[in-house]
Amino acid sequence: MHQLEAMRMPSASLKTFNLGDVRWDWLALWVATAFIFAFLVIPTLIVVPMALTPKNILEFPPSGFSLHSFADFFASDEWMSSLLISVEVAVIAVAVATVVGALAAIALHGAKFRGCGLVVGLILLPIATPLIVLAIGFFGFFARLHLVATPLGIGLAHSLLAMPYVYLCVSASLSGLDLQLVRAVQSMGGGVLAVFRFAYLPVILPGLVGGMVFAFAVSFDEVVIAYFLQGPDATTLPVRIFLNLQYNLTPVVAAVSTLLLLVTVLLLGMQMVFLKRRSRMSFLPGSFSMDKEG
C-alpha cells in the first residue's frame, strides 16, 4: 500500500502549493517524503523476517522463528559451490582491477597533458557501458579463448567493471600526496620501490582498501555478465539466485538475500572505517554520477 501511495503523493503535494497555505503544503511534502522513505526501505527490510520462517514456503509475517533456511543454504552443495565460485571470481576481479586501477591513478596524478581528459574518460568508460553490450562482447571474445563458463573469464570481465572504482578511490586519496615527500625519499637515495613504499603507499592505502572493497562488491553483485558466461562449473551466487527467483521460490532465497544484506552492511562499515580520514561523502553515489560525467 505504501508503495502505491508513494508514487501518487508528489503530484498531490504540488497541487497544495497553489493554496498558499503554509501548513498544508509542508504537511503534504512531509507525508510524501514519509511514503517515499517507506517505498525505499520496506522492500529491503521484509527480506530478513521472511528468511526466519519455520516453514518450507515463503510467508509474511513469519509464523514462527527458525534458522532452518540458513541451514538449508549451508547444507546445499549447489549453493555452496556457487558461493565458492563467486568468491573465486571476486578475488580475480579485485586482484586485476586493483593493480591496473591503482597504477593508472598514480600515473595520472597531477597530469595536465593534452588528451588527459580523454584518457580519464577511457578509464571510466566501462561504467557507462550497458552490461548487456559487454556481456555479448565478452561472450564472443571468450568463446575464442575457451574462457566462457570459467571463473577466470567471469573474473576478468568483472575486473573491467571494477577497475574504474579502484581508479576513482585511489586518485581521490592521492590528492593528499605531498610531492616534497617524494623528493625527500629520492634525496636519501631511495629508488622507485622506496618512493612507492614510503611516499605513495601510506597516502593511498585508505583509497586502495576502499577501492578493493568497492571492486569486491561490484563483482559479488554482478549478474548480467555472469549470467551470459555461466556454465555448470561457473554459476555465481547472483546467477543462482536469479535462476531460483524465476523457477524455484523457497525460503533459502530469503536466507541468501539476508546474508547478502549482511555482507553489504559489513562492507559499508569497512568503507566507513577506512574512509573516515577522508571525506565521508566518497562512498556516496554522488561519485557514481560524477564518473558518468567524467
Partner: protein
C-alpha cells in the same frame, strides 16, 4: 656494464623528462587492460554485426517481438524516468530545506536501497506484489479488496522495480544542484511580493533545471539497459531490448543478430552519455 646502465636509468629518473616516461610506463597496464577487455569485446560485436549484416537485418526487421521490445524499452524507461525524477526532486528538496540531521536521515534512506543487491530488491518486490503476496494479503485483510489484484508480472511492477533501483542515482544530481543555491534568493523573491507558486516556478525551478535534466537523463540511460527486472517482475509483454538480445543470443543462438542489437544499444547509450556530459553540473553559478 650493468652498473653503468643502471646509473643511466637512475639519472634519468631524476630529470623532469623522466616523469613523462614514468607516466607512460604506469599507464601501459591500463591501456593493455582496456585494449584486451573493452576494445576486443567491442571488436567482436562489430565484426559479428558486419559478418551477419544482411541476414540479421532480414531476421530483425521482420520480427514483431523485437519491435515490441523496442517500444517497451522507450515507454517503460520514459515512465520510470518521470516518476523517479519527481520522487528524487521531493527527496532532494527536503534534504536541501532541512537541517544537517534530517539531511543525514534522507541520505541513509537513499543509500540503503542503493547498496542493496539488485536481486534482493527484485526478490522483495516479487514477495510484495505477487497474487498471494504481502500487499494483496494486507489489502484483503483490511477489507479493501476481496480478490487479489494482479500486480506481479505487469508493466506496473517493472516500473516500480526500476524506480526503486534508479531513485538513489537520480537523487544526487538534483541535490548537488540545489545545495549551492543561496536561500537569500528566496527571501528576496518574497520581499518583491512573489507568492509560493511563482517562487517555485521563477526561482527554484530555473536554478535546479540542470539537475532535473541530469537526473532524468541518467535514469533513462540506466533504464535502457535493464535486463533482470523485466524478467523477474514483468510479463511476456513487458520485455525490453536487453531481453531481446538475450533471446537472440541464448534461445536462437544467433550471435550476429545479438551483436547487431548490442551495437545499436551501445550507440544510443553513447549519444545519451555524450549529451549527459554536456549538462552543467552546478546550479546557481552555472551558465545555463
Amino acid at each position: 656494464m650493468v652498473d653503468r646502465s643502471f646509473g643511466w636509468v637512475a639519472r634519468l629518473a631524476c630529470t623532469v623528462r623522466a616523469v613523462v616516461l614514468w607516466r607512460a610506463l604506469l599507464l601501459l597496464p591500463v591501456f593493455l587492460f582496456l585494449a584486451a577487455l573493452l576494445l576486443w569485446p567491442y571488436i567482436e560485436i562489430i565484426s559479428g554485426t558486419v559478418a551477419g549484416w544482411s541476414a540479421s537485418l532480414k531476421v530483425l526487421s521482420s520480427s514483431a517481438l523485437l519491435w515490441r521490445n523496442i517500444v517497451n524499452t522507450v515507454l517503460i524507461s520514459l515512465a520510470a524516468m518521470l516518476v523517479t525524477t519527481v520522487l528524487a526532486y521531493v527527496l532532494a528538496f527536503m534534504a536541501w530545506m532541512t537541517g544537517p540531521r534530517a539531511r543525514l536521515m534522507v541520505f541513509a534512506f537513499v543509500l540503503l536501497p542503493f547498496w542493496t543487491d539488485v536481486l534482493v530488491k527484485n526478490f522483495a518486490w516479487i514477495e510484495l506484489l505477487r497474487d498471494n503476496g504481502i500487499i494483496n494479503d494486507f489489502l484483503m485483510w483490511a477489507g479493501v479488496i476481496h480478490e487479489p489484484l494482479h500486480l506481479l508480472h505487469t508493466r506496473f511492477a517493472v516500473i516500480v522495480g526500476m524506480v526503486h533501483y534508479c531513485l538513489p542515482y537520480a537523487f544526487f544530481p538534483i541535490f548537488a544542484v540545489l545545495l549551492p543555491i543561496d536561500k537569500r534568493l528566496d527571501r528576496a523573491a518574497v520581499s518583491l511580493g512573489a507568492g509560493r507558486w511563482s517562487r517555485a516556478r521563477l526561482v527554484l525551478l530555473p536554478l535546479s533545471l540542470s539537475g532535473i535534466l541530469a537526473s532524468s537523463l541518467l535514469t533513462f540511460i540506466i533504464s535502457v539497459g535493464f535486463f533482470i527486472t523485466p524478467v523477474l517482475l514483468g510479463g511476456p509483454g513487458d520485455q525490453m531490448i536487453s531481453n531481446a538480445i538475450d533471446y537472440y543470443q541464448s534461445k536462437l543462438v544467433d550471435f550476429h543478430a545479438a551483436s547487431f542489437l548490442a551495437l545499436g544499444v551501445s550507440l544510443v547509450v553513447t549519444v545519451l552519455v555524450f549529451v549527459y556530459q554536456r549538462i552543467p553540473a552546478e546550479g546557481q553559478h552555472a551558465s545555463a
